[in-house]
Symmetry: C2
Subunit: 195 residues, 2 copies
DNA sequence: GTCTATATAATGATAGAC
DNA sequence: GTCTATCATTATATAGAC
């Protein structure tokens, strides 16, 4: 099923995803992508008509990957409590990359949202994905109208942890903040009366 | 006392500060600075030998400005509680810029910390400034060993709020998160036994 | 210290032979 | 679909007359 061109295309997206994350979108040049992939310059333009289009493909891939992760959590964990904890545990498990390069979603959005960048609309979808999933968990906890606000609070807490851990390159700091976040979730569950 | 050249230099730093904040450092070109200041190309190089050097001057100015703010808070507010509230209130009062361009400290650090950028060492000092001041407040509340951890927690919460409000361009969201943060400070003060 | 002209390298993007 | 050569533009940075 997988054609030849598909592999090249996938290689480009994989490499670009990594470079955009570790260096930032703006700082990553076309030449960087050429060198990292080994794909010839003109050839990349055969698959994507611009650097922006590569970024869109990268965002689409991240969206697809995260949708799979969320689906796995839904299958693996039956309670909203366990699902929220899975979200927080992801932060802990990714602590190495988070401290070195920041959050792949947050740092990209922060870069693109400057001065109404067009592409930010696409990258915002990554936040929407988690916001909606988290909202569903809080609704399951009985929060109803408050649910989205709690979801955004949790997302924000996660972002804050990533920013500070990134700036200070401190994984232990991240771990400590993750513990606080777990405690907050426990409190929220107690308050919901669904403990 | 203020010489002619000082004004030109100040103009360059002021404009660059604004551009780096609203557009990001990487996305801001030398030409952008030339156009915004009206200072001739070669003339800018008379004051700064590189774009990086302009950024260092911008960071130094931000440091100086924030030191003044912190000093004012020290004078104006006599209790650590009031000082911490002043910090949180700053977020609320800057909500318009924060939702449009993100946090000037956080977004700059996020950009520069990618892949060990040299300049991040300078921008990190902006975080250190607030971290140390906040730590002093928590020490005054009797937290001692925990103080720095609480300071970084508070800084992280502030960063998370800025990221989410920026991504969603939502000032009301920011306001709601600020309220949560105020509640958290109240709790911390109660727990410290110094209420 | 002011201003013009230009150097030099890098950028994203194309054209077109194979 | 592969590969080379190159375009046009923009980037940061300099040289040097005034």
């Amino acid at each position: 099923m997988a054609k030849k061109g598909d592999k090249t295309r996938t290689d480009i997206v994989d490499c670009a995803k990594d470079l955009f994350y570790t260096q930032g979108y703006e700082r990553t040049s076309f030449t960087d992508i050429v060198n990292a992939t080994g794909v010839y310059r003109g050839n990349i333009y055969h698959y994507f008509k611009s650097k922006e289009e590569i970024l869109e493909a990268v965002i689409d891939q991240r969206l697809a990957e995260f949708r799979i992760v969320l689906k796995q959590w839904d299958v693996r964990h039956s309670t909203p409590r366990a699902r929220l904890m899975a979200f927080v545990q992801m932060i802990a498990s990714k602590r190495k990359d988070l401290t070195r390069y920041g959050c792949p979603i947050g740092s990209l959005n922060t870069e693109l949202a400057k001065d109404q960048h067009d592409l930010q609309q696409s990258s915002k979808a990554l936040f929407d994905l988690f916001r909606d999933w988290l909202t569903a968990q809080f609704i399951a906890l009985g929060y109803a109208a408050e649910a989205e606000s709690l979801a955004l609070h949790l997302l924000g807490r996660a972002q804050g942890i990533a920013v500070i851990a990134h700036v200070y390159g401190d994984a232990a700091l991240l771990q400590g903040e993750v513990s606080r976040l777990e405690a907050w979730i426990e409190e929220s569950i107690v308050q919901s009366g669904l403990s």
